[in-house]
């Protein structure tokens, strides 16, 4: 049973690592929004296909397309 003298410190180290990771998670705001990720998973897969791509909010200054050439 001498192995236990190895296992005990290993257990302690693992616990410390776990707590370290937990604290990091709290600090990086991961516990701020517990509902969001659940919804995001459900709703994100479909939207990839119907997403129309980047849309400008107002008349853009320039959009350079293949054919047009906005000579400024």
């Amino acid at each position: 049973m001498d192995i236990i003298y190895l296992l005990l410190p290993v257990a302690l180290v693992i616990v410390l690592i776990i707590i370290g990771i937990f604290f990091w998670a709290v600090r990086s705001d991961q516990f701020d929004d517990l509902e969001g990720p659940a919804y995001r998973i459900l709703m994100d897969d479909d939207s990839e296909e119907t997403d129309a791509g980047k849309k400008p909010a107002k008349t853009p200054k320039t959009i350079v397309e293949e054919k047009n050439d906005s000579g400024l």
């Binding site: 302690l12 616990v15 709290v26 997403d51 849309k55």
Partner: protein
């Protein structure tokens, strides 16, 4: 195309579509009906940007969107100015890249958040948009050279929501930090606790089946090492609070908790050092973990409510339009105006206040005549006419005509500040009901220590070798676990029930105080009444000379609506809302502020307004007593007349909420006293209180009067529950034992109150009372159970029957019973 008989709801917002409206939006190949152009614009915008999945995901209908008007867009532009931006917008390393926090209004379900996130991310120039699903805050990062903040806000409005830049104040930041700390403590005690328990179980089994003493001793030391962080970091909350209690000569629930934890730890420490005896480290860890989680849930429920309400208080920088180089009697051009944040104003500044805008600061009118909505102070939503050299209050709304005012009071001296001071002072002197659990805690500690002393002395005399062990076992087993969990579990369970009826508590004492309430005080406008002027009745007076038929009610209504079409006055809005037929063209339209409107329709001259106005313009005289129709009540009367006679009377009033009657009756059945305290005229207050059967009625009250009246009641021993909605209610909401703010009321009221009624259904106040009573009963049951458990456990420990594993078991079992009992609240049925 057949005419629809039953109104089909609008596909976007769910409200019924008016009969004569036929607008549609194409969604996935089908034509879906829309109730207004606002909904159509929004739905079209959503579908065009490829986010029509929104309609698939949503679990409830969004709010009806405001139609975007040029004035609104103009106001949005003000958010681009440097002086406003420095409050909300954070710079990053790159000069062009800015960040802002936004609060979103109009969110009704998760799909709304998804929609906004997707829409914002798709805008060119927006680098990232993240919205928190719990508190509806958005963090947006954008490139200022490609897109401006006003564009971002505008695009959010185009899909039907409202966004406000948000600056979390000091208080919020502290709360946020505390919350994170709580989670860290919980995680720490949980992780370490589980490890400690592994060793504890090893030692328990060792006690039964034998264990090497060296192993046992190393387990003891390791458990000690693991417990120390818990003690220093996680349990420190209880120690600090207990210390504060003792210094103030009070015994709260935290004192027995700290006592239990410290004794268990010290005893275990001694055992570890001596190498013999029992250790209770697992009890310490478990106890801390249970309590921290109970508190976390209890606070979490309240935090969401306060977040939602207090945040809104910080927004709206109230942009003022300052006139540069204003010279009296000169009309200034647009180029001499500047948009500026209210915080930058100085005394003597000249401001332009357009109709519909909020007056930015206390001032005096220099030019213009208009109706001012002063519900801020009086709670009355009908505008008061003010003209040159009249004082106006910052925060009130200008309804009719543009005004030029000169600022004469700012900051501390303003009327709003004085109300805020009243609120602060009321909150400090507010009576607090001693929580039941705290009262018991005091008894518990003294009894426990006495019993421990007796046990110690007894065993010292009888069998000196065991006295310390048994005394410690006694103290540990009596650990106030069940006692301290009694209240938080009940309150947390109750908050689920409360959420169902839309009555959200903001402060810890809310539920217990509600259970003890004796007197219920109500505000009138907006609380007992809907707060909106509605057209109640049209009374036709006499046949018009020269015409064969009377004008009927519908025709009179249409004439009136046509005249009122361009007015912002609440009465005009009410008349327009009731009108269903198409408006007629009016020529020579003229408004006389505070009096009425006149115009020509189909070659007849018409006048609509109050008695004075009609008397000025018509040869008709109001000398019959037909017109004395209930002059003394809650209604307003507007008269429609021609040159010769009065044709119709429009009777408008603020309608009483349907559920008000039922609420008052049920309260009386429970032998509660009811009062009405209003800032409005005595006559309208009495009319409402008579109709509802309220016992006491007071009118013409200013904010400080309401507060003083409640204080008088409190001095007579009453426990007062105040329900209100306006800024003029905020001081009394802060001073009442328990205050409830209407969800649709002002933000200041919501911030000052202890509970928010977001369902706006006042009958739920009675349901809240029922829940409070049941919760108090469950708290009492829990406390009794905790005491009963101790009654059995302590003698058992005193006689030497209790070992650590039994102590741990007892603690968990008693806590479990308390939690299960509290869960019974979920089965509460309300009538």
């Amino acid at each position: 195309m057949t005419k629809k008989i039953t109104p089909e709801p609008c596909f976007h917002c769910g409200l019924p579509v008016p009969d004569n409206l036929d607008i549609h939006v194409e969604y996935q190949g089908e034509n879906k009906p829309m109730c207004c152009y606002g909904c159509q614009a929004v739905a079209q915008a959503i579908i065009d940007s490829g986010m029509d999945d929104f309609y698939k995901y949503r679990t409830s209908t969004p709010e009806k969107p405001e139609t975007i008007v040029p004035e609104f867009l103009q106001q949005l532009k003000a958010y681009d100015t440097a002086s406003v931006q420095k409050k909300f917008v954070t710079q990053t390393n790159d000069d062009n890249i800015l960040e802002v926090s936004l609060i979103l209004e109009g969110i009704t379900c998760a799909a709304c958040i998804w929609l906004n996130e997707k829409h914002l991310s798709s805008l060119d120039g927006v680098l990232s948009a993240n919205i928190n699903y719990s508190n509806h805050r958005a963090r947006v990062r954008w490139d200022n050279s490609k897109i401006h903040l006003s564009d971002i806000l505008e695009s959010i409005s185009r899909i039907g929501y409202l966004a406000h830049p948000y600056d979390p104040d000091q208080h919020q930041r502290i709360l946020e930090k505390e919350r994170k700390q709580q989670i860290k403590r919980l995680g720490l005690s949980g992780a370490l606790g589980m490890q400690i328990m592994i060793f504890a179980v090893a030692m328990y089994t060792g006690n039964w089946w034998g264990i090497d003493e060296t192993f046992k001793q190393s387990f003891r030391w390791i458990s000690l090492a693991l417990t120390v962080p818990i003690l220093l970091y996680a349990s420190s909350v209880f120690f600090k609070s207990a210390y504060r209690d003792i210094v103030n000569r009070r015994v709260g629930m935290d004192v027995p908790i700290s006592l239990g934890i410290s004794i268990a730890f010290i005893a275990s420490l001694v055992s570890t050092i001596r190498g013999t005896g029992e250790v209770y480290f697992d009890s310490v860890a478990m106890f801390t973990f249970f309590l921290l989680s109970a508190r976390y849930f209890e606070v979490g429920a309240r935090k969401q409510t306060s977040e939602a309400t207090e945040a809104l208080l910080n927004l709206k920088p109230v942009i003022a339009t300052r006139l540069i180089n204003y010279v009296s009697n000169k009309v200034s051009s647009v180029s001499e105006q500047e948009n500026i944040a209210v915080t930058e104003l100085s005394i003597g500044d000249y401001l332009l206040v357009r109709p519909g805008e909020v007056i930015p600061a206390d001032g005096i009118i220099i030019q213009g005549v208009s109706g001012i909505n002063e519900s801020l102070i009086t709670g009355e939503s009908l505008p008061v006419t003010k003209r040159s050299s009249d004082q106006v209050i910052g925060g009130s709304t200008n309804t009719e005509n543009p005004l030029i005012i000169q600022v004469n009071k700012l900051g501390e001296d303003s009327v709003l500040s004085s109300i805020q001071r009243l609120i602060d002072e009321a909150q400090h002197t507010k009576p607090a009901i001693a929580k039941l659990a705290d009262k018991i805690a005091a008894w518990f500690v003294s009894i426990l220590l006495t019993v421990a002393a007796i046990v110690a002395i007894y065993w010292y005399i009888v069998d000196a070798s065991q006295w310390l062990e048994i005394t410690i076992a006694t103290l540990v087993v009596s650990c106030p676990c069940a006692l301290s969990l009694a209240t938080p579990t009940a309150i947390t369970a109750a908050s689920g029930q409360l959420a169902k009826i839309g009555l959200l508590p903001k402060r810890a004492h809310a539920l217990e105080t509600l259970a003890h309430a004796t007197d219920f005080v109500f505000d009138k406008t907006g609380t007992l009444t809907e707060g909106k002027i509605k057209l109640e009745k049209i009374v036709i007076y006499m046949p018009i000379s020269g015409q064969e038929n009377n004008i009927d009610e519908l025709q009179a209504l249409t004439i009136a609506a046509s005249l009122e079409a361009s007015s912002e006055h609440p009465i005009a809005r009410a008349i327009l809302a009731s009108n269903t037929q198409s408006l007629m063209t009016v020529e020579n339209l003229r408004h006389s502020t505070g009096l009425g409107i006149q115009g020509t329709i189909n070659d007849n001259e018409w006048f609509i307004g109050n008695k004075e106005f009609i008397q000025q313009h018509s040869s008709f005289s109001f000398n019959t007593n037909f017109f004395d129709v209930s002059d003394l009540d809650n209604t307003s009367k507007v008269y429609l007349a021609t040159n010769e006679q009065c044709v119709a009377i429009f009777i408008l009033s603020d309608s009483i909420r349907q559920e008000a009657r039922s609420l008052i009756e049920q309260l009386h059945l429970q032998h509660k006293h009811t009062h009405l305290m209003s800032g409005d005229r005595m006559e309208s207050a009495i009319s409402i209180s008579d109709q509802l059967g309220i016992e006491q009625c007071l009118g013409n009250l200013k904010p400080e009067d309401k507060l003083n009246n409640v204080k008088t009641l409190q001095q007579q021993g009453a426990v007062v529950v105040m329900t209100g909605d306006g800024v003029n209610d905020a001081p009394v909401l802060a001073g009442a034992d328990l205050s409830i703010a209407m969800g649709k009321g002002t933000q200041l009221a919501a911030a000052a109150a202890d509970m928010i009624l977001i369902s706006n259904n006042i009958e739920h106040i009675y349901h809240g009372y029922q829940i409070a009573i049941k919760t108090l009963r469950i708290i009492k049951q829990n406390l009794s159970w905790a005491l009963l458990y101790n009654l059995f456990a302590i003698p058992a420990a005193a006689m030497g029957y209790v070992e650590p594993w039994l102590a741990a078991l007892g603690m968990s079992a008693s806590s479990l019973v308390v939690v299960l009992n509290a869960l019974r609240l979920n089965r509460l049925k309300l009538n």
